[in-house]
Each structure stands twice: as structure tokens, then as C-alpha cells.
Symmetry: C2
Subunit: 342 residues, 2 copies
């Protein structure tokens, strides 16, 4: 029993195919990361500041400092520094000649690591109110910092949590990549948004606020399992207010964002255990038509040949079912059929 | 040191970022599958035909037979049957009501498994000439079988080899999904192809035939590491002749396709060891503008938050370097920097 669902406003499809007997706890077992609370060798831990490039910004009691080559800031709350193995860099060499008709640009850009706590093993869901809204403030700062740079057209802000989600460091951190191109993914959304009369995110928000896919809301945000979900337990968080860029967030919005993100992560923990996941900000600056959104994707399923071939994802847990688990409606998962093997 | 490369003819980008010291053999260690040559419990092995749904087509010495519920064909060479946990099915129920403005279609379609040999543990690269071209013939037959069905608009033919590539069965097999929609991925390519004067695949073929990215060619096909590569050691195989559909392949083309595919897989084995990989056919029927191509993707890197956020892939091995390894130019990998950790 399956259905093919269309994206809210793009000509893209996913397949919701609830097949084999699988409970969320079975997923948890499948992809669990080995949790290591070692600190000695961790280059992101407080006290090991010499083991990374100098911090561009070290946040300490609300103030911002910077490392020098000789002296590193200690006792920070959040710490931002260039990735030691950057995908893009501020002064790249020109690409070699590749032949007529092939385009390449220098790998210009910025690649930053944001360490979220000096304490090893501390997770976002355990953060205090002050810590989580502090981190959202850092997110805002760093995005603004790079959006203001010349030639930067997109700032990708994301978190890889766990090895299966692409993290090479266990210590809680996010990353930021500032690019000289706007990704096609965003260009396509923007084209569809500009062609419509109303903001399609505002429209879908109205719908999801009262749908069976709603997970929770607070004064400023709504968290739901999107109707078009490319993977089990995907969650989108949208501001109720039409706002396009993290740089425009008020302190109240930042607080409410941290609060709802932490709440969704706590739900993940209860339902799925310590599962690898990614979260990604979709946002554009100087583009008021866009409606910022934050997407969370637990790394449960593997994109295989079919997904690579078609861009159509097979999701074995319907968003309605996922939302029900994440809201806590189902505390003792029954032996219902909510999974499917490839 | 990195560069941003544009796709041959789509407005899409990838980042080639050769960073940390990694040899291909290091990749091999990282993602190696546990090879189990058990046969007793394998439902795909010859002799265990009762353990799967009845075969729609069992190929035996060039002839095609079909199972009945009561009697299964034995001693087959290739065996095709419906996936026990199909993502799509021929007679699905209608989707439930999901709310105004949300589109869903019944999960109509076909999902087939193609078992490539009765022998457990036998790999495509070990196939004889007759076996590999026989398999290409089966691919052609099955694609034609489903392309001819009413309401089918795309047939996705792919192979998941190894657990990290999405395979749940160790025994060598491919899969086929026949869909009632044409994937956007293909629609976008087709739009760009129709807007140009010449077939862009014919154009890129001319370029790659003499480039440093060429891996090998035979009378009918060219195999190369594409300039725009979304992952380490990605390979594209293109027919020299402009042909859009596997259904139109002559026996000579089928033979040459099998020959070059097997050769690339042997190169993978030499350079990367027993690494998980996917291969996918990109093709369209009743669309002569399209130029069929077969893509191979070893599963070395993990798509993380950045890739999910932007659709831009960071590839740590340049296609020029990958081709050099796969051609066998570099037999004793030096300690060159060809990898990067996230």
C-alpha cells in the first residue's frame, strides 16, 4: 500500500510506502551511533583550543572575542573557527584549464565550524533556555557575518550529528558554508514562489497548523512532518511570520526558535533514541519573497539507486504516523507496519 | 584547494575539494561490506525459488518461462519477480483525503527484482561474455515489458550492491521500478536538451573521448569520470551512437555495453576493493532527443547537511585523478592528497 505525493509547490514527488513491520525503536537500533564521551583527544573540547585553527569568534558571556595565533580565548560558551579541511577558501587558486565549454570557478568561499558547547557529550536537547537561545544568536551572527561579504550569494547553515549524518567529530557542532553561487534547489523554489500570488509557505503553514501532521507550535513557530517527506521522521520548522532571513530575527524569534528546535530534538530522543540526524536552514538574504524554514532529517534510510536515478524518495513512514509518534500520541508503539526494507 | 564546477548543460554545481591524504585503498577499508557467501538462507539462490514471489520471467538457455504458484522454474540463468515489499503496486487503493491543495496519487506501478545469477556470491565482474551480455538482454526485455504498460511514464533500472548502497540482499541482483510520473531530474535534462541545438550528450562525448577523464572505450561505448562528478570515482558510460532507450539496443550494442560495464567494475575492484556501489540507467522511451547513459557511483562519501541543504556535492577526488586510478596509470598509489573529511 503506497501513494505518490507531490511537493507542496514544486513539480517533485515522493513515494510513501508503509510496508514491513517496523517500530521506531527498530530504526533506533539500526543506525545508532557509538556514543563516546571521551574528551582527552577531542579537539573541540574546552581547553584544547590550540588543536584547531584560531577562533574567528569566541562567545563568552554575551561578548565576542577572537583568538590570535599566540593566544587562544578560554572559557568560551560558543566557538567559531575556519574548518581545518575547508571545501571552499577565501583566496583559492584559479582552476586549471579543463577544455572548451567546461565551466569552473575558483573554490571561493568560507567554511566555518561552530562548536556549540565546551562540554563534550552535551547535546542541544539538554541545553538550558539561555544556552539554546544563545546558540540561535550565534547562528544569526555568523550568517550575517558571511552574507555581508562581497561575492557571497548563499550561506548554508547546517548540523551533522552522528557519523551516519556525515559528522567526523562527535562533539556537538554546526557548520556554515558561504558560497559564491545560489544553489539550484533554492533557485527553483524561488522561481515557483515568484510565479504564485501568495507565499506558498504561508499557505502550507495555514494548512499544517491544523493538520494531523502538526507536531507542536509555540508563539512564533510551527513544527510539523511535511506532507511531502523524503525520509522517515522529517520535520520542518517554520516561523508563523513571513520572514526570509535569520539576520532579521528579533531576540524573541531567536528564543522561540531555540525552544521549538530543542523540543523537536527531545521528541526525536524519546521516539528514535540517539539517532544521527541533520538539520539545515533554508533561507535567503535580500530576497523578501522567501520564507525561512529549518528542516530536520534523521538518517534512517539510505538513498539507493532508485533515489539517485530519479530524485524520488521512498519514505517508509508516513508523515501522519511520524507526527503522531513525535507528538507522543503513541507511547507504546504497536506492531504496526511502519517500515519497509529496500 | 578546491574549485566549483558547473554541470555540462544544467545550472548545477559541484565542489571538487581535494584535501586530506587519502589513497583509494583507504576508502576501500572505510566502507567495505562484510562478504558472506552463505547460500542456505539466501532467498535469491538457485533452489530456493519457493522463498520469493513467483517469477514473472525466468530465463533459461535463452528462453523465457514463468512460475506458477504451484510450480517454480528451476535451473534458470536470470530470474525476475515482483519485489516482496513493493514501493509501488499494479492495483493500489486510492489515497485517503489529505486536505485541500495537497496532491496525492495512488501508488501505481511495478517493482521488480532481477536476480543476476543462481550462484551466491557471483559478481558481475566475474561474468563470462555470454553471461554479461545475457544480463544486458534481460535488462532490455524487462524495461520494454514495463515501458509498454499503460500509464507508465518512466522505468528506473538500477543496481544496489552492498549494504551501504541500499541493498538488503547480498546476492547479486538489480531492480526495476516502473512509474506513472517522469522524474523531475529527467524532465529538467530534457528541457535543457530541447532548448539546445545539438544533443549535449553527443557534445560532451566528443570532449571526453580525448580528455584526461577517459577511462576506456570499446567499439560502441565510452566510459569516463564526468567533469561534473557528485562523488569520488563516479563513472558515466555513454553509447557513441545517439540512442535514447535500451529497448532500441541491437545485440551488438548489448554485448558492448556488458563488456564495458564489466571492465569498469573490474577497475573498481582493483582500485577500491569490494566497495558498495550503485549503477543507474538514465533513459527515456518515445523521446528520441534523449541520449541514454549509465552511471556508476561507489558509495564512499555520505551526503550530509550541506548536500541536503544545497544539492551541491563536495567531491574529494577529482574526476581526473579518479580516471587515472581507474585506467591503471597509478598502480602504487602515492601518499598524495586525494581525500577530505567532512
Amino acid at each position: 500500500m503506497s501513494e505518490i505525493r507531490k511537493h507542496y509547490f514544486l513539480p517533485e514527488y515522493c513515494i510513501i510506502a508503509e510496508g514491513r513491520a517496523k517500530r521506531p525503536s527498530d530504526f533506533a537500533g539500526a543506525a545508532k551511533d557509538s556514543e563516546k564521551n571521551h574528551s582527552e583527544s577531542c579537539v573541540f573540547c574546552g581547553g584544547n583550543e590550540e588543536k584547531t585553527p584560531p577562533a574567528t569568534a569566541a562567545y563568552k558571556k554575551g561578548e565576542i572575542f577572537a583568538d590570535t595565533e599566540k593566544k587562544r580565548v578560554r572559557n568560551w560558551d560558543f566557538r567559531c573557527f575556519p574548518n581545518l579541511y575547508p571545501a571552499l577558501s577565501p583566496a583559492p587558486p584559479s582552476p586549471g584549464f579543463r577544455g572548451k565549454g567546461l565551466e569552473a570557478f575558483p573554490g571561493f568561499g568560507f567554511h566555518e565550524v561552530i562548536v556549540e558547547s565546551p562540554v563534550h557529550g552535551k547535546k542541544l536537547e539538554e541545553f538550558s533556555d539561555a544556552e539554546i537561545s544563545g546558540l540561535m544568536g550565534v547562528y544569526k551572527d555568523r550568517v550575517c557575518h558571511y552574507a555581508a561579504r562581497e561575492k557571497i550569494r548563499y550561506v548554508s547553515l547546517f548540523k551533522n550529528s552522528g557519523k551516519a549524518a556525515g559528522a567526523s567529530q562527535n562533539h556537538s557542532h554546526s557548520q556554515l558554508l558561504a558560497l559564491p553561487v545560489c544553489p539550484q534547489v533554492l533557485e527553483r523554489e524561488l522561481k515557483a514562489i515568484r510565479e504564485g500570488e501568495k507565499c506558498p509557505y504561508c499557505v502550507l503553514l495555514e494548512k499544517e497548523k491544523t493538520s494531523t501532521r502538526l507536531i507542536r507550535e509555540n508563539s512564533k513557530f510551527v513544527a510539523f512532518a511535511p506532507y511531502y517527506s523524503t525520509g522517515p521522521f522529517e520535520v520542518w520548522i517554520l516561523p508563523k511570520e513571513h520572514i526570509s532571513f535569520l539576520g532579521d530575527f528579533s531576540p524573541e524569534l531567536l528564543f522561540a526558535l531555540g525552544e521549538i528546535l530543542r523540543a523537536v530534538l527531545r521528541s526525536y530522543g524519546k521516539v528514535l533514541g540517539n539517532l544521527p540526524y541533520n538539520h539545515m536552514f533554508y533561507q535567503l538574504f535580500e530576497t523578501p519573497e522567501y520564507h525561512l524554514n529549518l528542516r530536520l532529517m534523521p538518517r534512517i534510510s539510505t538513498a539507493a539507486g532508485f533515489e539517485l536515478n530519479t530524485g524520488i524518495y521512498i519514505n517508509t513512514v508516513s508523515p501522519e504516523k511520524a507526527a503522531s509518534y513525535l507528538r507522543g500520541d503513541i507511547n507504546e508503539p504497536t506492531r504496526e507496519k511502519v517500515g519497509r526494507e529496500k
